[in-house]
């Protein structure tokens, strides 16, 4: 397979990053959700990325902030 995100049994950071983002825009399948969850349990880098995506979303929802001039 040529898709660099499809990496067989073990979910990689590359797959997890994409799933974190797509999970914000569509409902992930059961398999995708499980793979992402398992990966986040063991990976600090992707957990951090996940948190940062959440911060980005909160920031955009509150934009423009009352203090931003």
């Amino acid at each position: 397979m040529n898709n660099p995100d499809k990496t067989g049994l073990k979910p990689t950071c590359r797959e997890a990053h994409r799933l974190v983002s797509e999970g914000m825009d569509r409902e992930l399948s059961f398999v995708e959700r499980s793979r992402l969850r398992v990966h986040l349990m063991v990976c600090d880098a992707c957990t951090r990325f996940n948190g940062q995506m959440g911060l980005l979303r909160s920031a955009m929802r509150g934009f423009p902030d009352d203090s931003a001039d």
């Binding site: 660099p4 990496t7 990689t12 950071c13 590359r14 797959e15 990053h17 994409r18 983002s21 797509e22 914000m24 825009d25 569509r26 600090d44 880098a45 992707c46 951090r48 990325f49 948190g51 940062q52 995506m53 959440g54 911060l55 980005l56 979303r57 909160s58 920031a59 955009m60 929802r61 509150g62 934009f63 423009p64 902030d65 009352d66 203090s67 931003a68 001039d69």
Partner: protein
Amino acid sequence: MNPQDTLHRQLEVMRPLLVRFAQLQIRNQALAEDAVQDALIAVLEKPERFTGASSLRTYVTGILKFKIIDCLRSSTRERQLEAEPQQSDDDLIDALFLANGHTVTAPTAWGDPDATLTQKDFFRTLELCLEKLPAQTARVFMMREWLELETEEICKELTITSANAWVLLYRARVRLRECLDLNWFGQRVPQ
């Protein structure tokens, strides 16, 4: 000053920021100015509708979002997206990962999110990062995260596929993350 003058004055102060925001969606200054003007007129015509339950800015922003959605729907010309070279963006994602799928450099900690969102300059930095996005990427991202439209609706408006939209949104987030990391979090001493 009577209340109407005060409101007028507050809206005038807010206007440049609103125009900058509209322009991230509608990359045509005249149309962006129109959308903002429509929103401001709507507020001025019915000032009694503003109950003060939210801040004035939140209230005006809410109205502006509807005006922008109207504008995107009605203006076919605006809807047409210029083709953008995708190569650099693919490189962008490729550059994050090693061949085995691991990150090249793990994202650094950003500290307390609640504290971040209360800092005024943070939003200015975020705005600058949004302005740096390629036009098409910025538009899809703003429709999703600012106008809070569902992917299906964005696809319908822009006649792109959902797969296309997800890729653009992913790229936008990666770019914004990097921009914020560099221009906001990177310069700050961890507390």
